[in-house]
Amino acid sequence: MPGLSGRMSTVIKAKISKLLDRAEDPSETLEYSYQKQIELLQNVKKGIADVVTSKKRLQLQEQKLRDQVVKLDTQARQALAAGNEDLARTALERKNVAQTELQSLDSQVAQLEQQQEQMTASEQKLRAKIEQFRSRKEVIKAQYSAAEAQVKISEAATGVGEEMADVGLAMQRALDKTENMKARADAVQELEAAGTFEDLTQLGAGEDDIDRQLRQLSSSSEVDSELARMKAELGTGSGPAGELGAGSPDNDQGAEQQASTGGNAGQSQAS
């Protein structure tokens, strides 16, 4: 029947069985097993602390992505108000990518939270088992012959080893997951950093690799509808896109003023 041994569990199991083979005197094995268990328990604790640290890093990244979404939204509005629809579209595409990533990060961090709780519970259970092993070893030493003791020790130590390996496996999986999430969020942030909109005038000059990548990543229909919504909000919505760029600064200002008084700028201009 198949069973599973992850990297961690294989390593820990190997360690346990190795130490069982070593000693000829069962009581020596008992002491050694117990010492080793205490040592490994420290590793488990440290591993869980690592998971918590990684999770906190991800939460920081989430915050950065949230800020980025707000920033890109503002920039899209600014670009649109200045009549640069291409730039607005690029900003919205980036916002779309950041938003999608943020959503998946959110749900994965929630999952991680759950895993962390489970691991903490397992660690407590493991500690209780090690404590049991400690009291059991005194009984074994006192009551059994060497041969019988060897069997009892082996069984108990293997059981504790399995429990330990299992917490180790959970830990390993949680850490792998945080690494994956972190790498993805980093990639999105790098995309944004590579084409920062610090200076609005620098953009709109042409499409670079980043823009093409973003276009592929973001859903264009979502970007289109958001752009349309934004245009309507700014009151520049009803005219064809081509007319936007053609307008003089004065006209744009006029349109904005009309928009702010609540009228539909496009219609007012046409009438």
Partner: protein, 92 residues
């Protein structure tokens, strides 16, 4: 029979449960061998549900190892295939 669901904990199944368990286990392994991902996830979930619903809790003071170790509930198809087909890893 003591079954461990990796990363979750141990359950105690009766001997008669063991037969059903074996059958469900074979379904999951067959799906892996047939390279059928959907089938694998369905079979594996069924197996997990069977163990959780029928397995009794293992006494707190039991220190012994499990007879069988199942993969973690969130195992991916790729991981399971590596586990169940070919040489696999060292069995639990």
């Amino acid at each position: 029979m003591i079954v461990r669901i990796a990363t979750e904990g141990q359950y105690e199944l009766t001997e008669s449960d063991g037969e059903v368990f074996n059958e469900l286990d074979n379904h999951a392994v067959n799906a892996c061998e047939a390279d059928d991902e959907d089938q694998f996830h369905a079979a594996f979930q069924e197996l997990l549900a069977f163990v959780r619903n029928n397995g009794g809790s293992v006494p707190e003071d039991r220190l012994g190892p499990s007879d069988v170790i199942l993969p973690p509930p969130d195992v991916s198809f790729e991981e399971a295939k590596a586990e169940f087909t070919g040489e696999g890893l060292i069995p639990g």
